[in-house]
């Protein structure tokens, strides 16, 4: 087994352990989501009312990570992709990539 394979195997085992721990934590923490009788609209209203700041932070964070992926994978400009992704939702990245393919 060369070093890279050894590295991949070890990291795989550790990630599995991490996942197992996450499941364990959630299943034994007693966290439950009571969604009975709630519509999606209620849920969204609840999030907007109580956790709007967290929702915005989460959205922006996801946009940045997607922009990072596009930058590293498709060699796009990170700032441009990030701004487009945040302002026009991450779906706009698909159009950029489509446009790139067409130009190629």
């Amino acid at each position: 087994m060369n070093l890279e394979q050894k590295d991949k195997t070890l990291s795989g085992i550790i990630m599995l352990l991490t996942l197992a721990m996450v499941f364990y934590v959630f299943s034994y923490s007693g966290t439950s989501f009571d969604l009975e009788g709630r519509t999606i609209k209620d849920l969204i209203s609840f999030i907007i009312e109580k956790y709007l700041d967290f929702a915005i932070i989460g959205y922006v964070f996801i946009c940045f990570q997607l922009a990072g992926f596009v930058e590293l994978k498709y060699k796009q400009d990170f700032i441009t992709v990030s701004l487009l992704s945040i302002l026009l939702t991450p779906f706009s990245i698909l159009f950029i990539l489509q446009n790139e393919n067409d130009e190629d």
């Binding site: 991949k8 070890l10 996450v22 990570q65 930058e71 990170f78 700032i79 990030s82």
Partner: protein, 762 residues
């Protein structure tokens, strides 16, 4: 110690096991993160106090003897205060207030009694027997209030405001948030059309903590957002932005996680930890990324591994030194008298250690795996910053004399402001003038002389005329000398009034009688003609008391003034009653005043100690006294300039502001370390001094600049604080960090080119 070998081994580890390192960091983060959710906030005063402090001990004694030393004042304002309906409503409010578990006794016009002289001596009569229903009985009540001396105590002199004074029956063992909620729920039920104002030190404390939590929820995302924005502009790539960011995030999670695993609670002071880590923890990552990008651009043919090896070799030691100095500055908090400050010092140091380790292990592991940003291979766009930095270096070396003289003059002038620096903490001033809490405190202070109480505990034969006269002399002395003390109440006042009453209300007889038995008889007469619980607050036993307390009402919580009262009173007691009954100052306000000053004094000592340790470290690392001086001086001068600026601007030094200065010491030295280390590296590579300065600016200048800017931007989050002094202090820290940055990038090139110090050529 072969540092080169260590950095080589470190690189090999990063290059061979990048995925394992990333997976392990995620695993440990989940392990720590698991416990973050179990972390409990602990807003109580008790947990943050030095247990062996004499005032804490005396407060515990007061709790046992008299059930608490804090008071609550509820003032009610109305144009028709003495109308039958309003008085009936307020009487019911009094009953509801008394039913709150934490309130042991409520004093107001509805239950206050007064001494009325009669043929048999005196009678104890309630001020208000029946709610007046007509104007004649209303006039009668007002007259009685005036005669009994209740104006300014329970009713304002314009008869438009009356107050309820509640005694809180514990100094420590209660939840201030629950107490505040109960009080405001009650007040909201009764307010309208009358205006209610609530004031109490525990309520102010709870509000401060509440706002700090709100600040933490705002600060952390705002600081992170601003840092991300700056890093985006600086590095223009995901690796440049998010690798330092993840290091910050992980260090915060690990720090809070370890608190959770160790069953520690999060005190209000701990809410500053994320802001500090956001501002500091990304520094090491920024230097690694900046050098990695710079070397990539200079040598486009080199592989990622080669560039990384070079980066770690070049920046490993300076970032180790930077991390070490920052940790030292926080570990110096261990000399603090407050357990919570010591705890915070250790925790922030742990966070910095984590961020340093993750920066040298995690960041290179990711950099090994991901391609370099596309813009590094292009004709580059950052030439403006490069040219600016190189131009700046040349300018400062060319006009070194002018630069050094100008900077010296400015820094001497700013440092002179220290003479105007005041140490004071008035929690009221944390809030804007328009805040409900400040309006209530001002209102109550104007009408009733304040809502804060200082206590003096007296031990001995309390009915002994000598002891009573001592109490009288001491109270008069304090009131004469300290205008902040607006009112006082003690057993001596009661005895004097009874003696006067017994002598037909003769004002000349309002003195302490010489006969102990007579005093005993007065107290006996009082107790049989009243409920007998009037003296629970000031006597431990109504028949043979061995403890009493003097209550002093303060206009405002000014810790500077309180500290003066404490010092003066202690001296007065020692000078005049040394052989008599022991007297000691106690109470929440006294504690606040004394502890605040103790903390700030301790903070100054820890600042000086940390500067000395950092100076010694730098001297050892550069193997030169001059090297130590060059590395430490810009930071030390910046700290002095910041205090001077605070003095000129009239900003007082308090717990928060003094704690935040740790950051300045820890972070301020980073820029000089990086500059001097890289300058020495270039000189060792054979560059002339001028070329070495230019190359230092070219290769390391951006790292130093972005690092400094990220700290400034991180602290700009403080501008969103609810607290006025924190906002002002945010501006000051931003200014001081800029001074440090400027000191490294302007003073050092000028100074080194002028003096050509030998340590740089070793």
């Amino acid at each position: 110690m072969n540092l080169r070998r260590i950095s080589h081994a470190l690189f090999n580890f990063d290059a061979h096991y990048p995925r394992t390192i990333i997976a392990t960091v995620i695993f440990i983060t989940v392990l720590f993160g698991w416990k973050v959710f179990d972390l409990e906030m602990d807003p109580s005063l008790r947990s943050g106090l030095p247990r062996d402090h004499k005032i804490v001990k005396s407060m515990e004694k007061v709790d046992k003897l008299f059930s608490g030393s804090d008071i609550l004042i509820v003032a009610v304002e109305s144009d028709s205060l003495f109308n039958e309906g309003t008085l009936n409503k307020l009487s019911s409010f009094q009953d509801s207030l008394e039913s709150i578990e934490l309130i042991s006794r409520v004093t107001s016009i509805f239950n206050q009694k007064h001494i009325v002289p009669d043929d048999n001596g005196f009678e104890i009569e309630p001020l208000l027997t029946d709610i007046p229903s007509d104007s004649a009985s209303r006039e009668d009540l007002m007259k009685r209030l005036e005669e009994s001396g209740m104006i300014g105590n329970l009713v304002s002199d314009d008869f438009k405001t009356l107050c309820f004074i509640g005694q809180i029956n514990s100094s420590f063992e209660y939840d201030e948030f629950v107490f505040r909620k109960d009080i405001f729920e009650l007040v909201n039920r009764y307010s309208d059309p009358e205006d209610f104002y609530v004031s109490s030190l525990p309520i102010t404390r709870a509000t401060v903590i509440d706002y700090m939590q709100r600040d933490m929820r705002v600060f952390t995302p705002v600081a992170i957002g601003l840092c991300i924005f700056l890093l985006m502009l600086s590095f223009r790539s995901w690796t440049g932005v998010f690798l330092p960011f993840f290091v910050v995030g992980f260090s915060i999670i690990w720090t809070f996680g370890i608190m959770g695993w160790l069953d520690m609670s999060l005190a209000f002071i701990g809410t500053l930890i994320p802001v500090m880590l956001v501002a500091i923890a990304n520094n090491y990552g920024i230097h690694i990324i900046s050098h990695y990008f710079e070397y990539s651009r200079l040598d486009t043919m080199a592989t990622r591994g080669q560039i990384l090896r070079r980066t770690i070799r070049k920046v490993g030691i300076p970032i180790l030194l930077a991390g070490l100095t920052t940790m030292v500055s926080f570990l110096c908090l261990l000399s603090h008298s407050l357990p919570r400050a010591r705890e915070m010092g250790v925790l922030v140091s742990f966070g910095i250690l984590v961020s340093f380790i993750l920066s040298i292990i995690l960041i290179p592991s990711v950099l090994v795996l991901v391609p370099r940003p596309q813009h590094l291979s292009k004709e580059y766009d950052m030439s403006f910053i490069d040219n600016f930095l190189i131009g700046m270096g040349k300018l400062f070396t060319r006009y070194r004399g002018v630069v050094l003289i100008s900077l010296s003059v400015i820094s001497i002038w700013l440092t002179m402001g220290i003479q105007y620096l005041k140490v004071d903490t008035n929690p009221d001033h944390y809030f804007p003038k328009s805040s409900t809490l400040r309006i209530a405190n001002t209102k109550i202070s104007e009408a009733f002389g304040g809502s804060t109480q200082m206590n003096i505990l007296v031990e001995g034969d309390i009915f002994d005329p000598v002891v009573l006269r001592n109490i009288e002399v001491l109270t008069d002395h304090i009131k004469d000398r300290h205008s902040i003390v607006t009112k006082s109440y003690s057993i001596a006042d009661v005895i004097k009034r009874m003696h006067s009453g017994f002598n037909g209300g003769d004002p000349a007889k309002e003195i302490i009688p010489d006969d102990r038995d007579l005093i005993h008889q007065y107290m006996f007469m009082y107790s049989i003609s009243s409920d007998g619980d009037e003296f629970d607050l000031i006597l431990d036993d109504i028949e043979e008391p061995s403890y009493t307390q003097i209550l002093l009402r303060l206009q405002a919580v000014k810790t500077f003034a309180i500290s003066e009262i404490v010092d003066d009173t202690e001296q007065f007691i020692k000078a005049n009653f040394y052989d008599d009954s022991p007297m000691e100052l106690t109470g929440g306000a006294t504690l606040m005043g004394v502890v605040n000053h103790m903390v700030i004094r301790g903070q100054f000592i820890s600042l000086i100690v940390s500067v000395i340790i950092i100076f010694s470290l730098m001297t050892i690392m550069f193997k030169s006294f001059t090297g130590g001086l060059f590395a430490t001086m810009p930071m030390a001068i910046s700290v002095a300039m910041m205090f001077g600026l605070m003095g000129y601007m009239g900003i007082t030094l308090n717990i928060t502001t003094s704690l935040l200065t740790c950051i300045l010491v820890g972070v301020g030295v980073d820029y000089t370390v990086h500059f001097l280390w890289h300058l020495r590296d270039h000189l060792n590579d054979g560059d002339s001094l001028d070329d070495a300065i230019t190359n230092t600016f070219r290769i390391s200048g951006k790292g130093i600049l972005f690092n400094g800017l990220s700290v400034v931007v991180g602290f700009s989050a403080l501008l969103f604080s609810v607290f006025v002094p924190v906002r002002i202090f945010g501006i000051l820290v931003m200014g001081s960090i800029s001074f440090c940055l400027f000191g490294a990038l302007a003073t050092l090139p000028a100074l080194t080119s002028l003096t050509k110090p030998k340590f740089l050529y070793k």
